[in-house]
Symmetry: D2
Subunit: 254 residues, 4 copies
């Protein structure tokens, strides 16, 4: 069961059954009990910088524990160590370069984020695009250091291409909807369902997240109904007056 | 006195006079007592990743205290907080984006590195080149957060251009010599003296560092003799078996 | 029959049967008569600049007519019009941006290369890498203007990803072999056969070229034996003393 | 006299004195008779693609001959040869890479645009930004092939930096005003006069153009009054119903 990657299958299933939010994922392959994956991207929002990065992570952890839903955070690079040291929840990097040890000043090295406490990374976010060769190198680097990978894409064909590289997740985010407050699941449901289909055809082990404009319970619900297995979101939570309340609303319809 | 930016002039002058390595800088404007500035770039070297980042910083601090020479370190982004929390010496970032708070996933925000403990940043290192507009924006961002700036350049004209942007330092590093083990001060002394002249003509407040191939006492000595006010160096110290001994050799002829 | 895209199937088959170099392609789907596709990238070689661009194109046309093998050329952008006006053979662009009409100074617009006489384009060459989103946009632009597409890749996973975007061709070129004189078909045959397999799995309509170090008859022969349907090559012909003789050698074992 | 670079000084002065639009430039160095330089950037506008590129160039030539004012055009790369072959006026490239002959697929090589008929090039346009090192290399390449250079910048500090690299012109264009229809000379006159001052301080041989939102006679007039020596403009002419009439309006107040 993917959503409890750090635990045994048995524990995971029990947790799902006992959770306040039991949920059925229906895949082509059959029926699988599961819970969505929520990845909160802090971007460079003031509210999620420095001390704020830790505070929001604490809110995520609290809601994750209450609900049994895995919530991970992606703070800024300089805040990874601080968040990972102070809060026990999955911490992602916002970016990873496909570089090794050596002459790569200013680049993000897999071993460095791993040692700082990250367990995964975003790759190719629309605000930090990479060449195809760099995405592949970044995935190799992540694999080498045991980091989970979320490759961001902008439409169905790029989602298919990203899936062919074998990441853990692709996150489809139409750039025009990012930060718009208009959820992709409403504005462009076909891009989500199309991505889910395209990925299933290329590599059924790759999971699909959906992003852009997601902030409310109905958005996450719609995203799941369209076949995605979670969401990548940002401002709706990080810039909320009460991030914990916003997260509770987000998962209210799971 | 620039090299003791965090202290009063009086203290600085006394420190110089009492140090084991008194040194006279002769500028066009007159005679100024001073000591060079040494900035150690960790790049993504394994030896300077995670715990290693802290260990090397401790060696730098020890040598700095013994000698009175300012030594700053530029660890990887995820290690800034850790190094700055554990060792009291100037910590630089290897890169800074000219972005504000907002939708800049994977970018390096001035406030984030400042809060993590950085006091300055490299900009436009040859391994992380920026557009001219980005360099200028990065300098603005650094200024906003009170960060010292070192803009890297590759030849005399780009050094002049960088000086026109008003950073604290330009660091001239001919790319073909970086990591070569051949010190720029020997291989291409004209690029150093030419840069010193060009900068003096554009803005005499901007200081010149020289980099590429610097690792030994004679390299630093030659760099200073050519008119630079310090060095940017990397592998010669970070990958040394005994970084502290290597640093002591580096400053032995100051 | 793909290799005679501008003619009818019937004509093509006849041309193959009557050519001096009849050749059997065996695909998974059955037996197809065919001839390889040769795409000659001029890069910025002096020999292929300006008038030279036209001269080399004439040599290509002569060898193509003698042999019945399709040979296309990719001169520099400013030479497309000149070559296409003076020589009747397929002209490709070395690059295409996925931009429309508008504010895209310095970008390569599909309509402009089409009107200049190009019939296709290289996309994402190792010397002009694009982001994944840009590759997809470039393919869309090419499609809009009826241009054939060759997406360059660097290893098996990126080849699979590129195939998922549905170009006409992917051209696998391990960067370390480009310009090396060591043919990829000898140095790393697995990357070619692996790419052929990966592409067949993703989209069997996509054809595979192989590049890097190709210049002789045995190199092309080996490339075809590994399952590719042609080659992308450059210096071996463009910088040859006698490009026509070099081309004749290239196709001698087809 | 700069504006008649292809003619002798004597001819130029006579042409100015006899023209319908005599104009006095007052420089710090004294009084120089002169006429502004107008550079028309076609971007990727449909109207300026292919045949349209030639038509607009003809309109420019006609107005230039009537007025004695130098008007140059910057069509798309694939149209340089066509425009330069069919119309006798100065043709600029929209971009130039600082590369030599060799392995630079998809890059713009100085010799290629020179042989296609270009006499100059834009460098670092806001829609095609370059790193500082690339700008300098591009300028070197232009110099090698005797091409005139216009480096685009976005504010006063970057203008100063660009001037330190010694181009023929810097063209200051605040990105937020490009394509806005609001002339920089009205919206932000300080950026123009500040650029003129900054350039004079760095290198008085470098001339200043101003761009962004320029389309009418009063815009050019204001640009000249602020101390610039010409304008870089685009949509106002290229997308005009009658480009010739638009050009005549543009120069009506010179």
């Amino acid at each position: 069961m993917q959503y409890f990657w750090q635990k045994s299958i048995r524990e995971s299933v029990e947790k799902v059954l006992n959770s306040r939010f039991p949920f059925l994922f229906i895949f082509q392959e059959g029926i699988i009990l599961g819970l969505p994956f929520i990845l909160l991207n802090y971007k460079t929002y003031l509210q999620g910088t420095g001390k704020g990065a830790v505070e929001i992570a604490k809110a995520c952890k609290a809601v994750s524990e209450e609900s049994g839903i895995e919530i991970a955070v992606a703070p800024q690079l300089p805040d990874i160590y601080r968040v990972a040291s102070e809060v026990e929840l999955p911490v992602f990097s916002q970016h990873l370069d496909g570089v090794g040890a050596g002459s790569f000043t200013g680049h993000i090295f897999g071993k460095a984020i791993k040692e700082a406490g990250a367990v995964g990374t975003l790759i190719n976010h629309s605000e930090r695009r990479l060449t195809l060769a760099e995405i592949e190198a970044s995935l190799q680097a992540a694999k080498e250091f045991g980091l989970r990978t979320v490759v961001c894409t902008n439409n169905v064909p790029t989602t298919a291409a990203a899936a062919a590289l074998g990441p853990d997740y692709v996150a489809i985010e139409p750039p025009e909807l990012i930060g718009s407050g208009i959820p992709v699941s409403k504005a462009d449901p076909e891009v989500v369902s199309g991505s889910v289909k395209a990925v299933a055809k290329i590599d059924s082990r790759v999971k699909v997240l959906c992003g852009a404009g997601i902030s409310k319970g109905e958005d996450l619900r719609a995203a799941l109904d369209l076949g995605s297995q979670g969401v990548l979101l940002a401002s709706g939570i990080v810039k909320a007056k009460d991030p914990k309340a916003a997260l509770e609303d987000l998962i209210s319809l799971v």
